[in-house]
Symmetry: C2
Subunit: 109 residues, 2 copies
DNA sequence: ACAGAATGCTACATATTCGGAAGCAAAAGA
DNA sequence: TCTTTTGCTTCCGAATATGTAGCATTCTGT
């Protein structure tokens, strides 16, 4: 009840959604998932694919994504999406389409 | 041609997608969009909805999202999604469903 | 077996971003 | 007029990201 009497918003953000938005809202997290969309990549190749992300951050993101069950490390293959992680693909594919309509960084008048 | 001769990945990440992933991968960006899903919110209400985000960061995210044409500020209404921004809704709705399957932060063995 | 390359990963210093508190000027409401 | 609410700013300590170098191990070719 922290929104007082005049609560108008019918839908409240769930805890799991807040968590997903938190983890996805960390630098490179979505990009890493996106780069793994079609095949497994080694750490170094993933680094290149992301355009030269620093290894320390990549390592952190990968550990987080692994702990969340989104990404898995396969001994002689590299990193790849888990079955659960692959369910994000259609979502990111839509973001890909959507991104083409992005404004070219116009100013706020 | 920065991936050498042995290029295997058929699909290259587009510049617009890289940009979208960049902006979406900033803290609170997706959350802000999500909180605006059903109605316009004033700056202060948006702050509450996000669970106490600091105004400096919220201001920065809102300016970025406005510059991208995702969010707009309506004088006596507050912030709301643009028509373009609303196209992100089905995407985030899927993320909402997906988030329920998130692992409870298990350790990496 | 051996040399060289590639692997995942770490350490460290620097730069950027975030977070939290206080507060401002302008507008709206009473 | 007085109070509240608005969008927004500044400051600064804490957290996160970046960049470079390099380690130990495993694969690869000879």
């Amino acid at each position: 009840m922290n929104r007082g009497v005049g609560m108008r918003r019918e839908e409240q953000t769930s805890a799991s959604m807040a968590r997903a938005l938190d983890y996805c809202g960390r630098r490179w997290a979505l990009r890493v998932i996106w780069e793994l969309r079609s095949e497994a990549l080694t750490f170094r190749r993933l680094q290149e694919a992301c355009g030269g992300i620093s290894p320390s951050v990549l390592q952190r993101r990968l550990n987080e994504l692994r702990a969340l069950g989104v990404v898995e490390l396969v001994p002689r293959l590299g990193y790849r999406l888990s079955v659960f992680g692959e369910r994000l693909f259609p979502l990111l594919a839509r973001l890909d389409e959507w991104s083409e309509g992005l404004a070219p960084e116009r100013d706020l008048q």
